[in-house]
């Protein structure tokens, strides 16, 4: 087909807003090939897509190593290092046709990597899968491995310290979901300036010197136990780190060897042969040594991330690639001109595709909570440098262009917006949103920098380096700021607090006394009594979730130090402490799911029961117990009561009060290991769907089974009646610097209204209002219902249609129908 005709078709697709088909025509043939070659590890509900298998290699390796006699007496960090090293040495590796970046966690592209040392519950979930994830002929070997490994798992070690109540609550996931010992995952923030400048070889040299000096002190100097004995653990940590780094270098060079073998024996195409030889050269060099060129830096990033994934089930992927890797881009594209911009764009596209193909076999619960996304891998773009100057650069723009071409849902981007952000980049951000990617989500840079200083006294210069650590919480990317611990694995099902308050601590779903007895609400004569009961219930299970997580940290400190992570964090190599023992500034938070529903409910009770006295508390509770059956008129009164998101002080004052009290009475009195208070991060991912059966009928009018509200400070679907500015004004009444670490706001915009050149101006004006009101986060869906309904009817034609679910995006057709319908139901805002 002639070029002019193709351009005409592309233009028509843009005008029809059929961006997924435009992307297919616009991207290069290589990127198109690689995009279609991907195996998505996203789940539909809790099921992986057909053809996905779990990679059992590391399970078998772990079983073998744990049967060796050394495993009984050596420090576990060394055993873990041996497992990783053996896995890297023996797992099959592969190079996909036309790819130029290599490295994956798994023996084949269609496999998800299984780390068996974290959670035996996940191990059992995987083993018991009957949807084709596990091959039946492997089951006997896997069963034997799992039985042997179970006492070694992180979960087993943590549970010995938990009370019966804590174990039950962790498992039931009614008040808090995803207690860390049940998922055992991680998302450490990277310290680029430690491993990029010299590669792993330089770190190995430092480790070797530390080990030699320590052994000399331990074995050859005057006996001095207080100084010498602590060196024993440090030597173990350093030796384990060295073992894994050496194994990582050898593993990378296996790819170099494979690339050469293919080039010399099987590949006849001269260009492909040349590409394979470059792959070989690159993998011989990184991660052993510092990268010099852009493609080497990308390869380093993938190798490092892959190994983090091998070490610990990765749950998020903090990365700030435009900032960290711009010097390499500049050298290759601008200074040395060894790479054209188009070639660099192809590499960035492939980088995104390599990231997207990662997956892990989670628990069923979390597969549902993150349905449609193998990640989320939230990468951070834009922002400021440590001196407060705009960080946006040409690589920032390139990531945004590449996102529109590859249309993957992970990595998804958080864009750090500030007053001085360059307009050309902001227009690229808007184009991504207009193309319906649902990302970047927009972050208020100044608010979040101040917030980091408020919660953990992070110096402002260091706070400016922040990277999104999981979905929305910022973390400094410096030696003292890098966070090695994932805190918010636990996430509260927050609206349980009001439900428990309404039943004196009794949970009608599980029919158990889950909370303290805060009084029979039928006897409450004042609204404040109900409010206090709600806060007490919320504090009770939130504090339990905090404590359970910190017990997990103790186990990480004493037993589960991570050999690789400890080597790629400078302060750990310096001090000899493992990743969990070494203190950072501190960045603890608990994600808060299903939060706002109960605050609307409180407002409705205040109005209808305590002020208007239209219903008694007893009448209302009877109706809730019956799931509103036979009380539809009453239910509609509660639906019509004042609702958040309409700039109505009646309800907004209650919301502000609740946030303030959570900060002052639930968070600030606590201390996490690093000595800073815990905080919260209201958001939802797809928990608003999962929680629909965990929380019963509430006085905001919801019934058991109705989905919850979909964001941290988002209004309920269809309940925001006064337009987008009213939503922002409500959200702006919260103090986004001090009430929480981050708070998620979903907004749905009209594609028709934001078409053309004026669309950007309209959107930018909205963003400025959002910024001036001090809100910290906003994310957008921009897709019309007509397209969504069409995709429901013919999903095969819309495989790359993306929607924003909550803290992440998903391919619409990979969501189940309930999730799809909730997105369709969201209010479309006209700006």
């Amino acid at each position: 087909m002639k070029t002019a005709e193709i351009e005409k078709q592309k233009q028509e697709l843009l005008e029809k807003r059929q961006y997924w088909w435009w992307a297919e025509k616009e991207r290069s043939s290589r990127v198109d090939f690689l995009r279609k070659a991907l195996w998505s590890k996203a789940t539909k509900g809790s099921a992986f897509l057909p053809g996905i298998k779990v990679c059992t290699h590391q399970v078998k390796v772990a079983h073998e190593v744990l049967q060796q006699k050394e495993a009984i007496f050596e420090p576990f960090i060394k055993t873990w290092a041996k497992i990783l090293a053996k896995n890297l040495a023996t797992i099959p590796i592969f190079i996909v046709d036309k790819s130029r970046i290599v490295g994956y966690t798994g023996a084949a592209p269609h496999m998800v990597h299984w780390t068996p040392l974290a959670s035996y519950s996940i191990n059992e979930d995987v083993y018991n899968d009957r949807m084709g994830l596990v091959d039946d002929e492997e089951r006997p070997v896997l069963k034997a491995a799992m039985d042997h490994i179970k006492p070694w798992t992180y979960q087993t070690h943590v549970e010995q310290y938990l009370t019966r109540r804590e174990k039950i609550n962790s498992g039931m996931a009614l008040t808090y979901a995803g207690a860390h010992h049940t998922v055992g995952d991680s998302y450490p923030t990277p310290q680029y300036d430690w491993w990029l400048p010299g590669g792993y070889t330089r770190i190995i040299e430092v480790l070797e010197k530390n080990i030699a000096d320590a052994k000399k002190t331990l074995h050859e100097t005057v006996p001095n136990a207080p100084e010498q004995l602590p060196l024993i653990e440090k030597i173990d940590n350093w030796e384990a780190g060295k073992m894994v780094l050496e194994a990582a270098i050898k593993w990378a060079r296996r790819y170099a060897r494979l690339a050469r073998i293919i080039a010399e024996n099987f590949e006849s195409d001269a260009q492909r042969k040349s590409e394979l030889l470059r792959i070989a050269e690159t993998c011989d060099k990184v991660p052993a040594h510092a990268p010099e060129h852009f493609w080497e830096a990308i390869q380093f990033d993938i190798f490092r991330s892959t190994l983090e994934h091998y070490e610990s089930q990765r749950r998020a992927w903090p990365n700030r690639p435009d900032n960290a890797y711009f010097p390499y881009y500049k050298r290759s594209v601008v200074d040395d001109k060894v790479l054209s911009e188009d070639e660099a764009l192809e590499y960035v596209c492939e980088w995104q595709l390599r990231a997207f193909e990662y997956g892990r076999p989670w628990s069923r619960l979390w597969r549902e909570i993150l349905t449609g996304d193998p990640g989320p891998w939230v990468w951070t773009l834009g922002g400021q440098d440590k001196d407060g100057n705009d960080s946006c650069n040409d690589l920032t723009d390139m990531f945004l262009k590449a996102a529109r071409l590859t249309r993957v849902v992970s990595p998804t981007y958080a864009f750090r917006y500030h007053r001085n952000v360059r307009i050309q980049t902001l227009k690229q951000v808007f184009e991504c949103i207009r193309h319906g990617l649902g990302y970047p989500n927009i972050r208020n840079d100044d608010v979040l920098i101040d917030s980091m200083h408020y919660w953990a006294k992070v110096p402002i210069e260091e706070a400016r380096t922040w990277i999104v650590q999981a979905c929305i919480v910022p973390c400094a990317g410096t030696k003292k700021g890098c966070q090695p611990i994932s805190y918010a694995t636990s996430s509260t099902i927050a609206s349980k607090a009001l439900e428990l308050a309404l039943y004196n601590g009794y949970d009608p779903i599980s029919r158990m006394q889950l909370g303290p007895k805060t009084g029979d609400p039928a006897t409450f004569t004042l609204f404040d009594q109900l409010y206090d009961a709600f806060l007490e219930q919320y504090k009770y299970f939130t504090w339990e979730a905090f404590r359970v997580r910190e017990i997990g940290r103790h186990v990480e400190m004493t037993k589960f130090g991570r050999p690789f992570l400890g080597a790629i964090l400078e302060r750990c190599v310096e001090s000899g402490e493992n990743h969990a023992r070494s203190k950072e500034y501190g960045n603890p938070w608990l994600s808060v799911f299903a939060w706002m529903d109960q605050l609307d409910a409180l407002a409705a009770v205040k109005k209808l029961v305590y002020e208007d006295k239209k219903y008694t508390m007893a009448q209302m509770i009877d109706a809730l117990k019956a799931n509103w059956e036979g009380s539809e008129e009453m239910r509609m009164d509660f639906v019509r009561a004042p609702k958040w998101g309409n700039d109505d002080d009646y309800v907004d004052d209650i919301v502000v009060r609740a946030h303030k009290d959570v900060r002052d009475k639930v968070c600030l009195p606590t201390r996490e290991y690093s000595g800073v208070p815990w905080s919260t991060a209201p958001q939802n991912v797809a928990a608003y769907i999962v929680a629909s059966t965990k929380v019963g009928a509430l006085p905001n009018g919801r019934r058991l089974g109705d989905t919850m509200y979909d964001g941290g400070c988002s209004p309920g679907a269809g309940l925001d009646k006064k337009g987008p500015t009213a939503v922002l004004r409500s959200a702006g009444k919260l103090d986004h610097r001090t009430f929480f670490k981050a708070n998620l706001l979903n907004q749905r915009l009209s594609p028709a209204q934001l078409a053309g050149d004026k669309g950007f101006e309209l959107w930018h004006s909205y963003i400025k209002t959002w910024r001036d009101l001090g809100c910290n986060q906003v994310q957008f869906n921009m897709v019309d219902n007509e397209t969504l309904f069409a995709a429901q009817k013919e999903p095969e034609k819309y495989s790359e249609l993306i929607v924003r679910v909550a803290g992440y995006s998903a391919h619409f057709v990979e969501l189940n129908k309930k999730a799809q319908d909730t997105i369709i139901a969201r209010t479309v805002q006209n700006l």
């Binding site: 279609k36 070659a37 991907l38 195996w39 053809g51 040495a89 023996t90 099959p92 590796i93 592969f94 190079i95 996909v96 046709d97 023996a107 084949a108 592209p109 269609h110 296996r254 060897r257 494979l258 073998i261 293919i262 024996n265 099987f266």
Partner: protein, 54 residues
């Protein structure tokens, strides 16, 4: 009994020919790729579906 080092798909390590990789081509429903699986030169290859004598 055939052993891996006799197979055309076996590539010994340059510095230790007793070890090497079995390099094969795989075409799955989505993509095609070359894969390398570490093997010992003297591993039995009789039951291997990929075995092809050099």
């Amino acid at each position: 009994m055939a052993v891996c080092e006799e197979c055309k798909w076996f590539f010994p390590l340059e510095d230790d020919p007793t070890e090497g990789d079995c390099v094969t081509r795989v075409v799955d429903p989505r993509c095609a790729y070359w894969t390398a699986k570490p093997k010992q030169a003297m591993d039995e290859a009789g039951g291997c579906g990929n075995y092809q004598a050099k």
